[in-house]
Symmetry: C2
Subunit: 407 residues, 2 copies
C-alpha cells in the first residue's frame, strides 16, 4: 500500500468498490462455465461485414476528418440520423435537445456530475441498474429505492417516500427509471404508470432520468410511449444507446433533454473526454443512412425472442414450485425470485461449482435486500447452453429446497 494514499483519495473514491458484476465476470472465466451473468449482446447480432465495408468507405472518403478531433456535440450526420429516426417514431426533438455520449454509462456519470451534490437524494427502483447506482454514488448521492409491482415502481410507495424526504427537508434531484424491459427485472411500465410517475415528478418538481438501452429490442406487445414524449415541462432526460442495437464495443450513445440541460451536459463532457470517438460516430451515421440499423435489428430481435422463449420453456420444465420469474416483452434479462428462505448468495456459490453463473439480484438493490433474487441474461448463450445451463441451475435450486425441507 502506498503510504498515506487513503488520506489523499477523495471522499468519493474512498467509498468506491469494483463493480460486483464485472468482478463476477472475472471469477467465472473458464471454458466449461455456462454464464447467464453478463449483459452481453450476442456476437451473432454484430454487423461485422457491414462495419468492415463502411469503415473502408469512411476512410477513403473522409479519412482526415474521421481521425481528427470532433465537436463535443457529436458528428453532424450522426446527429441528423438520430433526430430523423426519432421523428419517424413520432418524437420531434431539436438539435439542441440532443447530445452524443461515450456509451450511456458516460451519460449517467455526467448527469451525476451536473446534478448531484453530496447528500442529494436520487430515487431508483428496487431493483435498479447497478451502473446507474454506482455512477450516482460516485457523486455521493443518497439512493432511495422504491419497491416494484408487476408494472414497475409502486406509485403509492414512491409518493410516500418523496413526501417523507420532502418533509425532512431533503433535496431530491431526480427519479431514475428504466421503463422498458428493466435491467434487471425485465418489467415494462405501461403508459399509465409512466404518467403517474411524471405526475409525481411534476407535483414535487423533480427531474426524471429515463434510461432506455433496450427499448428497440421488443419481441411482442405494443411499444409504450417514451416518458420523454409524455412529459410536457422539460423535466425528462432520456438515454439511448447503440450498444444493444449495433455494438457495445463502439461506446456510442445519445441523450435527449431540455436544451438548458443538454447545454450543461456538453460543458461537462468537454472536460470529461472532449468528444466521443469521431471515426465510430461516422461509421454508425453511414450505417444508419444506408438503412442497415432497422434491418439488422430485426434479426437481433428474432434471435433474442427465440432465446427468451427457450429459456422460459426450460424454466417451466425444470424449476421447482415456489420459484417465480418475470416474462419480459423484450430486452436482455429476466429476473428470478426464489422462495424467501433460499439465499441467492449461497445458490451462486453452488451454481459456480456446477459451472453455471448468474448475477445475484441483491447487487441491484440499493438497500441491501433482494437476497432471494437472481438476474438471468438470455441474449448471449446459444440454445444448447441455455438448455444445459438452466438444467444445472434448477438442480442447484432443487437441491437447496430439498435440503431445507429435510432439515
Amino acid at each position: 500500500m502506498l503510504p498515506g494514499i487513503n488520506d489523499k483519495f477523495s471522499e468519493s473514491a474512498r467509498t468506491m468498490k469494483r463493480s460486483a458484476i464485472r468482478e463476477i465476470l472475472k471469477l467465472i472465466q473458464k471454458p466449461e462455465m455456462i454464464s447467464f451473468a453478463g449483459g452481453l449482446p450476442s456476437p451473432l447480432s454484430f454487423p461485422v461485414e457491414e462495419v468492415k465495408e463502411i469503415t473502408t468507405h469512411i476512410l477513403e472518403t473522409q479519412g482526415a476528418e474521421a481521425l481528427q478531433y470532433g465537436t463535443t456535440e457529436g458528428d453532424p450526420l450522426l446527429r441528423e440520423m438520430i433526430l430523423k429516426r426519432h421523428a419517424g417514431q413520432g418524437l420531434n426533438a431539436k438539435p439542441e435537445n440532443l447530445a452524443i455520449s461515450t456509451g450511456s454509462q458516460q451519460a449517467l456519470d455526467i448527469l451525476g456530475k451536473i446534478f448531484i451534490d453530496p447528500g442529494d437524494y436520487v430515487i431508483c427502483g428496487l431493483p435498479s441498474y447497478l451502473g446507474g447506482i454506482t455512477a450516482f454514488n460516485a457523486y455521493r448521492a443518497k439512493m432511495k429505492g422504491i419497491p416494484f409491482d408487476d408494472k414497475g415502481m409502486r406509485i403509492d410507495l414512491l409518493e410516500e417516500a418523496v413526501q417523507r424526504l420532502t418533509d425532512l427537508g431533503k433535496k431530491i434531484k431526480f427519479i431514475y427509471i428504466i421503463p422498458d424491459f428493466q435491467n434487471p427485472a425485465g418489467i415494462t411500465m405501461p403508459e399509465e404508470r409512466r404518467l403517474e410517475i411524471l405526475e409525481i415528478a411534476e407535483r414535487y418538481d423533480l427531474l426524471v432520468i429515463e434510461d432506455s438501452p433496450y427499448r428497440d429490442i421488443r419481441f411482442e406487445g405494443t411499444p409504450q410511449k417514451m416518458v420523454y414524449q409524455l412529459d410536457k415541462s422539460g423535466r425528462v432526460i432520456t438515454l439511448c444507446t447503440f450498444s444493444k442495437i449495433f455494438a457495445p464495443g463502439f461506446r456510442v450513445a445519445w441523450l435527449l433533454g431540455h436544451s438548458d440541460i443538454i447545454d450543461k451536459f456538453i460543458m461537462a463532457k468537454q472536460s470529461a473526454d472532449i468528444c466521443s470517438p469521431v471515426i465510430l460516430q461516422k461509421i454508425i451515421a453511414e450505417y444508419m443512412q444506408r438503412g442497415l440499423l432497422e434491418k439488422n435489428m430485426g434479426k437481433t430481435i428474432a434471435l433474442y425472442r427465440r432465446r427468451r422463449d427457450l429459456m422460459l420453456e426450460c424454466f417451466e420444465k425444470h424449476m421447482p414450485a415456489g420459484v417465480s420469474w418475470t416474462r419480459p416483452e423484450g430486452g436482455l434479462f429476466l429476473f428470478i425470485t426464489l422462495p424467501e428462505t433460499i439465499n441467492a448468495d449461497e445458490a451462486f456459490a453452488r451454481a459456480v461449482k456446477n459451472n453455471v453463473a448468474f448475477v445475484k439480484g441483491s447487487v441491484f438493490y440499493c438497500n441491501d435486500t433482494g437476497k432471494n433474487t437472481m438476474r438471468i441474461n438470455f441474449s448471449y448463450s446459444d440454445d444448447e447452453l441455455i438448455e444445459e445451463g438452466i438444467k444445472r441451475l434448477a438442480a442447484v435450486i432443487n437441491g437447496m429446497i430439498a435440503e431445507q425441507d429435510n432439515s
Copy 2:
C-alpha cells in the same frame, strides 16, 4: 430557461463554462480564416491507409471481440505493446501500473474525481493546459498557479506557495505539470527542475500529475527522463496519449501510476464509461505490433519541426521589437509575450477581423493574468498559411504598438 433548473444543478455545474478554446474554434470557422488557435495535429500525420488495412484485418480475424464490451483495464495486446514500448525506453512498468483511458482528458477527469474534494488545492503552472484546469475545477478544486521561468515552474515560488498553504492548514492534493513542450508555453523542464519538483512533492507529501501528450514529438535536443522514472516513492501519475502520435479521433490514451492509484482509477472508470472503445484499442495494438508507430512518428516529427522552424523564421522577420516568444524543442505550441501594455484580447479581436486567429494566453492562467500573451499552434497549418498568417498577426501587433507610441 427551464424554470428552477439552476436550483437543480450541482454546485459544480453552476460554475461550469464552455471551454474558451472550443468556443474560439467555433467563432473562427470560416474558410478565409488562418487559425493557429486549435491544438490539432496535422491531417498529414494520420496513417489513414494503414488504419484502413488494419481495421479490415481486425474485423476479419476478431470481429466479434472487437465489437463486444471489453475490460475496463483495456485490451490485453494494447497493454502489452505499451509496456513493451516503455521498457524499450528504459521504463519498466508492470501491468498493475497501467490503465487505458478514453483520451487523456478522461484521465484528468477521473483523477479529479478520485483525489479532489471541494476546496482541496491543486498546484499548476502559470500558464497551464486549460483542459486540466477545467477538469479539476469541475470537482471544485482551488487552483494555485506558479509562475514560470525558462525551465518551467519556478521552484522558489512553488515552495513558498506550498509552505504558505500548508501553514494555513489547506489540503494540497497534487502538483499538475506538463514537463515536455508544455501546453501552452512550449517549455521543457530539464532533469534538474524535475528533481526539484519531486523533492518538494516528497517533502510535503504531495502527488504529482505528469501530463505528457507531446513527449514523443521531439525535434532536437536530449529527451529528459519522465518524472515518473525519477520518482522513487510512487507519487507520480503520468498521462500519455495516442492523440498526437497516431490520431485524436480515436480517443485512446493511457496512464501509469502506483498500483493502488491505478486500482482506484479503474473502479472510477467502470462507472465513467465501462471501457474505452474496444475496436479502436485493437487497431492501435496491431498498428504498434507491426512497428508502424515509430515509423510514422518520424514523419510527423519531421513535418512539425519544419513548420516550427518556418514559424520562428516568420517571427524573426515580421514581429516588432518588444515581442518575445518561446522556441520549443518539440510539441505543437509556442507562446508569445507581447509588451506589457498590449492587451491580447484586443489583439485577438483585431486579428480575427484580419482573418488570423490564436488563443489568448489568459485562458491558461488560473489567476486571470497573462493578458499580454498568446498561444500559437504550429502543427496544423501548412507553409503558405504559416507565412501569410504570421504576416497578418505581426501587422496587427505592429499596428497596436504604433498606435500606442503615437498616443
